[in-house]
Amino acid sequence: MIKIINNKKIILLAGLTAILLLIPVFITKPYFLHVIVMCLLWAYLASSWNIVGGFAGQLSLGHGIYTAVGAYATVMLFNTLGLSPWLGMLIGGSLAVLLSLIIGFPTFGLRGAYYALATVAISEGVIVLLNSVSNLGKFQVGGAEGLIVKTVGNSFGAIQFVSKVPYYYIMLIALGLAILVAKLVKESRLGYYLVALREDEEAAAALGVNVRNNKLIAGAISAFMTAIGGVFYAMLIRYLEPNAIAGAAAMSTQMVFMTIVGGAGTVLGPVIGGILLSIVSEVIRFYLGGQLMGLHLFVYGLIVMVMIIYQPAGIIAWYDKFKEHRLRKIGNKGGASGAENSSGA
């Protein structure tokens, strides 16, 4: 019985991978491909946020600072020194980790709502800073006018391509890695400790869990991943503007909403949420956006509200319930029980 399920899973996974790899073959219009790449990017960013927001349960509403750090550091190094973004993202990521530790240390001790407010204040402060700084020595920062990424044409080292196809594969791999990281974290000691401290900090501490350190580790992993996401964003859009890369509406809250709608604290929840909300938003903007400015965000906001009211555990929870229901039916028929652990992949 179990063997059949496992084989089914592998077949499904293989099939899915094949489809994903072949998408650019079937979808050739650059605009559509661009939309799909953005969906993958948002799924990636949501997954990154999920590490600290879902697994560790810390409602960071200012995560845009990490996409900003990653993006700005990499682009500044690329524009001025010609440093490949592949290396730049490691530097940007490390800076993000450092920042997350500096911020996390005092703020992780705050109560949930106060922590959220602190992240909002810090994030807005960073945006104000970015808007006001034009140059850092010989490095162009751009200030409020933004920073244009130097165009070099087709170059893998510069993560710049004329066609959208390479971006697609890069983003696909990145998303795959993000999902892998999430799964690894979830099944590791860190993952268990994070769920424990999310449920009951006092009880976790009594079992030897250093609450603050575990939150900091989760925060650091999340910051690193998010910063890399910021780099991809920069290389895709090729233009950095403080509000777009770090702003609450454009970046920070998006990551949060996508994760919540999909299912916070699960491995696939943020992916589903990210892809779904991006597609909905983009479809509306494409078909109706011209006539009614703001409609796509309006609908987006409505979807989020509806999900929070009716299924705060996210779309994944519906899938889990469905799975449990199916297993119970099979169990009743075959007489074999086996309550499968419900926690989304």
């Binding site: 005092p106 709502a113 407010l117 810090i122 402060g125 009614l292 409609l295 929070i308």
Partner: protein, 290 residues
């Protein structure tokens, strides 16, 4: 000195906006991320009523107030309450926070769709006028704003202290279980509190439209400041909100004389973070356990 006067006026308005927030935050323990958008809504409604009727904005309080109250009441009852109830078990109910954040997006973009992105202002007879108070010249509209804000805050304080509803609200804030055992209808009280908090915004709204541009995203700026004021003044404290607002207003206007606008903003954020880390309960602390 006019700098101080203007700082006082803006500060009082911040305090006024923060009053509703501290009420909701203090009584219901929820962070209302839609507060800024609700302010924007109040401003929009006030502006359009002014444009349609020509009545002085201050008189419009009578109409806009109840509208906002009902809107807030309904929002709480149908949107927030289900989520609050579902989160009763959770130690820190952040779902409500996210709900209000999403509500803010809905309101902002709804306004964008209905009213467009234009910046509008209610150009009244006193919009550009100035007053001479002794040796100080102040902007008339801001000065009136100061007076009205103080009056409104005072009236609100009396409401909380002297009326039955006010007492119910305070009792529910201190201990909702005890309040319910004493016969207070807690769900209804929450809805009323939210409605009142929202209605207070209309006072700030009518005070602002004569000299502040209205547009769909105007709420965001005020909201962060309002939160800073609430934390600075102390969760749930009316005098704290007003005093905190005035302090922030003064810091802003005085600092603006010496540094660039951007640095002024950062100074305010720094003050906020300092308060959060050093004394999260703010100036007047909180009589309630968080």
């Amino acid at each position: 000195m006019s700098v101080v006067a203007n700082g006082l006026s803006m500060g009082a308005i911040y305090g006024l906006i923060a009053l509703g927030l501290t009420l909701i935050f203090g009584i219901m323990r929820i962070i209302n991320f839609a507060h800024g958008a609700l302010l924007m809504l109040a401003m929009m409604i006030s502006y359009w009523l002014w444009a349609a009727t020509g009545l002085s904005p201050y008189i419009l309080i009578i109409i806009v107030g109840p509208i906002m109250f009902i809107f807030g009441y309904v929002c709480e009852l149908f949107l927030i309450k289900p989520v609050l109830d579902a989160q009763k078990e959770v130690r820190e109910p952040v779902a409500v926070l996210l709900l209000t954040a999403a509500l803010a997006i809905v309101l902002e973009n709804g306004a964008l769709m209905l009213f467009g992105a234009d910046y509008v202002m209610a150009h009244t007879s006193f919009s550009k006028a100035t007053l001479a108070l002794g040796s100080v010249t102040v902007s008339a509209s801001r000065f009136y704003g100061l007076i009205i804000a103080l009056v409104a805050a005072g009236a609100f304080y009396l409401f909380l202290q002297r009326t039955q509803i006010g007492r119910n609200i305070r009792a529910t804030g201190q201990d909702r279980n005890a309040a319910s055992l004493m016969g207070i209808n807690v769900p209804k009280t929450f809805a009323v509190a939210f409605g009142v908090g929202t209605a207070l915004l209309c006072v700030a709204a009518v005070v602002l439209i004569p000299f502040y541009y209205v547009h769909p995203s105007v709420g965001a700026v005020f909201m962060t400041k309002a939160f800073i004021v609430v934390v600075l003044g102390g969760l749930g404290s009316v005098p704290g909100a007003l005093l905190g607002g005035i302090i922030i207003g003064l810091i802003e206007s005085i600092a603006a004389q010496y540094m660039a606008a951007t640095l002024t903003a950062m100074l305010v954020y720094l003050v906020f973070l300092l308060v959060l880390f050093v004394k999260p309960t703010g100036m007047f602390g909180s009589p309630y356990e968080w």
